[in-house]
Amino acid sequence: MNDQLLWYTTRAAGAVSMIMLTGVVVLGVMSTLRATPRGLPRFFTPALHRNIALVTLVFLALHVVTAVVDPFTSLGWTAAVIPFSSYYRTFWLGLGTIAFELLLAITVTSLLRGLLGHGAWRAIHWLTYAAWPVAIVHGLGTGTDAWSPWLFTLTCLCVGAAAFVVVYRFTAGSTDPLAAQRASFRAGVDRRPDR
């Protein structure tokens, strides 16, 4: 019964993490696009993004810990930090490790953003676009019930939502009101020799 509990917790925490991570991605894109629901203050979207991200980490930690200590998988702690080092479903689990570490890096740098500076923080934050799909593929490849109807549907909804916002983000123009004029002025005073 105990091992079953750990096993169920791992799978449940994994599914919840996936849903929450998708929400984080959606809110992150909304923050970049300065999209806040009418009537709500502007800080709402970035703040919710931040708070859900932190809660996601809790579920992610639960997912990782229960998976590692589960006697059925006998993963060992190294599998949680070194990708592709487990015997159990090596490749798919390795993807999970990668996604986990990327998310850890993104979170830590976000918490230390004031010290790092905006440029460095932003560069690392772009890794979100790698971390999320890797996590989804990990789930599909290693999840026991990944292909069960309910979880598969959930995964598809998450992929749909994320794909929608990401496409929107990259096709929408800059939300900086000065983007066009700034670029045009700069083009006139940029004297790089290779131009």
């Binding site: 923050s31 300065r34 203050p41 502007r42 800080f43 970035p46 953003r113 004031g114 905006h118 939300t175």
Partner: protein, 72 residues
């Protein structure tokens, strides 16, 4: 007011997102185009934690708390 910290804005980095004015309306308001007008002078002690939060929440880190020289 026992501190000498003032709010400064990196005007080039700021792109008028307006979170600061929501998080610290006592000292920051927005002009007609959405850019912050910051009240001059040191930040009062009771507002310092709110100012620090506004600084950390600026999406582009344009807002900062700086020690200002008295004789500047």
């Amino acid at each position: 007011m026992s501190n000498d910290l003032s709010l400064t804005v990196d005007r080039i980095r700021c792109d008028g997102r307006g979170l600061c004015a929501e998080l610290l309306p006592e000292m920051i308001r927005l002009d007609d185009w959405g850019y912050p007008i910051v009240a001059a002078g040191p930040v009062p002690d009771h507002l310092l934690p709110l100012a620090q939060r506004a600084v950390s929440r600026c999406p582009v880190l344009a807002l900062a708390l700086r020690r200002v020289d008295r004789d500047q």
